[in-house]
């Protein structure tokens, strides 16, 4: 990266953008390779090493103390003192100098909780500049901004650039990247694909580079889709406490024997959609019909009892009790159902026997069902969850990123299970960031962007590139 430029890094979720940035900012150590700053090889052991060498980072999620003023937040951790007494006046002047020099104006005495998102981001940038950084890493800075704020940010970046600072800009919004970057590096699957100049590529070409052009081997398989509706959700909306629309009038229908895939860049409402169907958001509006029954007002437990299997996107937070044994994890989510319960009591014998069955049938590699779930590898944990959710004759299976963070062998096994579920006549809602997986398994694909379905795709004809552009809003409304 050259001094005085904006260098963008683009890539899909899980391509390695964040890991790369963590290494550059000293939060993680690389196994191999070197980092050079101004021609010198450096070793970054912690963020303070990075800051000392002039590398600063603005995180996607702001790291500000709400109950402090802007001034206090900026100096936090690097307070100017004289004999142990804070020198606020001096700091205020420096902040105002920085503001004037880079056209980043904020009131130093405003409380952070009172200022808007755009202002908060400016505070974060000022914080980094205040520490004398010459290289700024911005992690998805536009994700939380409205268009006008994005423009303000870009003009500030231009100002920084003209003063000789270097900006590393991480994003997957391709149109923005094209308008602001001087150079673009595309990474995929943990390696650099290429570095291009924005004048040489279109958003579509960039999307192609991002998702890779290899198509999954299209399986020749017969459609098992029936005309029996398993899930009919209509008019689902959900508003965050901040007033942002997380889901906006979503409707979908899944038939028995059908896999409906949802494509989308993370944070566009996938998690909320799944949680709403599971009954975890009481403030959501719209109707959810499972089979013949309107389950809109049902609790999560009632929905699970009615035959909804759920593979959550974050297994350690939502899918498992890490510090409980495997058999207790078999009970989790099915506390009220046979063979785990008899009336109000837990049926330990039944649950243990059934855990043995799952371990054998789903090839969960474990020495015993009494070890803690945290002792297993991610793949084996996930196989246990899949086995658990396929037990008890579910009608609908919701699989959110079912193969995330699992090894190749477990991935293939989980894919097989989803195919099997489809053949058994279950309706499957599949959410995945892996477009090959999505295209390979789905009977139908919908694209979610900013809480709305923006496109429909037929997996037999669609390519990852087309999906990728629809996901990032770069390629218009394809169908």
């Amino acid at each position: 990266m050259r001094r005085g430029t904006v260098h963008a890094i683009v890539g899909e979720n899980g391509a390695g953008k964040s890991t790369l940035m963590k290494i550059l900012y000293g939060m993680q150590r690389a196994d191999e390779g070197t980092i050079e700053i101004d021609g010198k090889v450096v070793v970054l052991r912690s963020p303070s090493d990075a800051i000392a060498l002039g590398v600063g980072m603005v995180h996607q999620h702001f790291q500000l103390a709400d109950n402090f003023t802007v001034l206090e937040n900026v100096i936090l951790g690097d307070e100017p003192t004289k004999g142990g007494v804070l020198q606020l006046g001096e700091a205020r002047e420096r902040i105002q100098d920085i503001g004037r020099a880079y056209r980043l104006t904020v009131d130093p005495d405003a409380m952070v909780e009172d200022i808007g998102v755009g202002d908060r981001q400016r505070v974060e940038i000022i914080k980094v500049l205040y520490r004398g950084c010459q290289t700024l890493i911005l992690d998805e800075p536009t994700a939380v901004l409205v268009p006008q704020e994005v423009e303000q940010l870009f003009s500030a970046l231009a100002e920084l650039k003209s003063q000789g600072l270097t900006v590393i800009f991480i994003s997957h919004k391709l149109d923005e990247v094209l308008s602001v970057a001087d150079e673009i590096t595309v990474i995929r699957g943990g390696t650099t694909v290429t570095t291009v100049l924005p004048s040489e590529v279109t958003a579509r070409q960039l999307a192609e580079l991002m998702v890779g052009s290899e198509l999954p081997s299209p399986e020749t398989r017969e459609s098992t889709v029936t005309d029996v509706t398993v899930l009919d959700a209509s008019g689902i909306s959900l508003t965050a406490d901040s007033g942002r629309r997380l889901l906006d009038d979503i409707s979908l229908r899944i038939h028995a024997g059908e896999v409906l895939g949802i494509a989308g860049v993370e944070g566009n409402g996938q998690a909320e959609l799944v949680e709403t169907i599971m009954g975890m958001h009481s403030s959501a509006t719209g109707t959810v019909v499972l089979g013949e029954e309107d389950i809109s007002s049902w609790s999560t437990r009632a929905r699970r009892e009615a035959g909804v299997g759920y593979i959550p996107e974050d297994r350690s937070r939502h899918g498992l009790l890490l510090e409980a044994s495997l058999w207790e994890n078999r009970v989790l989510g099915h506390q009220t159902q046979a063979p785990n319960a008899k009336g109000a009591l837990i049926d330990r014998k039944g649950a243990r026997a059934d855990t043995d069955r799952i371990v054998a049938e789903y090839d969960v590699r474990t020495p015993s069902i009494d070890v803690m779930a945290s002792s297993l590898s991610g793949g084996n944990q996930q196989k246990l969850i899949v086995g658990r959710e396929m037990s008890g004759n579910p009608r609908l299976l919701i699989a959110a990123h079912p193969t995330r963070g699992v090894d190749v062998g477990a991935q293939a096994a989980i894919w097989d299970e989803i195919r099997k579920a489809r053949a058994l006549g279950l309706g499957v809602l599949l959410i995945s960031a892996d477009l090959d997986e999505l295209i390979g398994l789905s009977d139908h694909i919908k694209v979610l962007l900013r809480g709305r379905f923006v496109a429909d795709a037929d997996p037999l004809t669609v390519t990852p590139e087309l999906l990728g552009s629809a996901m990032t809003g770069a390629g218009g409304e394809e169908s």
Binding site: Y310, L321, L332, Q335, R365, V371
Partner: protein, 365 residues
Amino acid sequence: MRKIALVVAAPLLALAFAVLVTTVILIASGHAPIDVYKQMWDYGTQPDSLVLTLNLSTTYYLAAVSVAIGFKMNLFNIGVDGQYRLAALFAAFVGGRVSLPPVLHVTLIIVVAMAVGAMWAGAAAVLKNRRGVSEVISTIMLNYVATGVIAFLLTTDRFAVMTEGSNNIGTQPIPPSGQVPGFNVIPESTSPVFGLILLAALVGIGYWWMLSRTRFGFDLRATGLSPTAAVASGVNVKRMVLYVMLLSGAIAGLIGMPQLLGESHTYNLDFPAGLGFTGIAIALLGRNSPVGIVFGSLLWAFLDVSRQILDLTGVSKEIVTIMQGVAVLSVVIAYELVRRYGIAAQQREVGRQLAADAELAGATA
């Protein structure tokens, strides 16, 4: 086997550390530690002291279980103290005013105590569910409210009568039909052990059974281990908060019963206070386990009884408070260290075992 060793090692190490710190303090203050410990042991193992220890640990056990039920769900019921005092006052008042056949009378008193305790704790649950008030704050404040309510009610205009032959006031004494006689366990002692020690044992068994055998207990533990996973599994966390608080409060209501029904028969100005806070310490010491708490309360009660001799020998008995405090602190740290070590050790072991299995399969293939 190693699991058991780990579980026992933590409290023993912590206890050893507490004794070490106490020894250092004793030496620093110019006493001979061995002598002090010997005096405490000799006094504490006398028959009458043993009875006192058992009686004290009965109330401690109930207090600790009451706290532990909340702790298991990461719900901090700091208000056990107010809950049991208020419950004991109302139970004593009702018990002194009615006359019923023996078993019925006792049952009524206990039911009143549980209901009042549950209600007082339930207030904190409602505040948490409806308004998002942290139960730590609300239960602490409810302790002060309880103190105020008791001071208001425990006057001769309302719940209390003058105790004959003293300046103390208390509720009307509970007639014999509402008393629970003690029994002699320690042959050399003439004083009886609280009859309600059996109730404490029953509560302990019920607590164990509820946690490990019932769906409710599973939901409770799941919520404590991972609230997010519990929600995803269909646990209604708000409802659990309410139920667990009610249960914790109901058991808190029992804390004053052994003393009330077995000894004082009245709630007066001398009724023991502060047991709720002792319960918190013992729950930590016993790691919220029904069995661990038995040992925790016995130890705590033994120290509380045996420290009484120290005044006579010129050693400040607060030394025992230091020992108890250090024991709780170091037990908490020791448990955490052992827990982490246990997780890491199991991960390593599972990895090793799977690798060995794979090698074996490779060799035979």
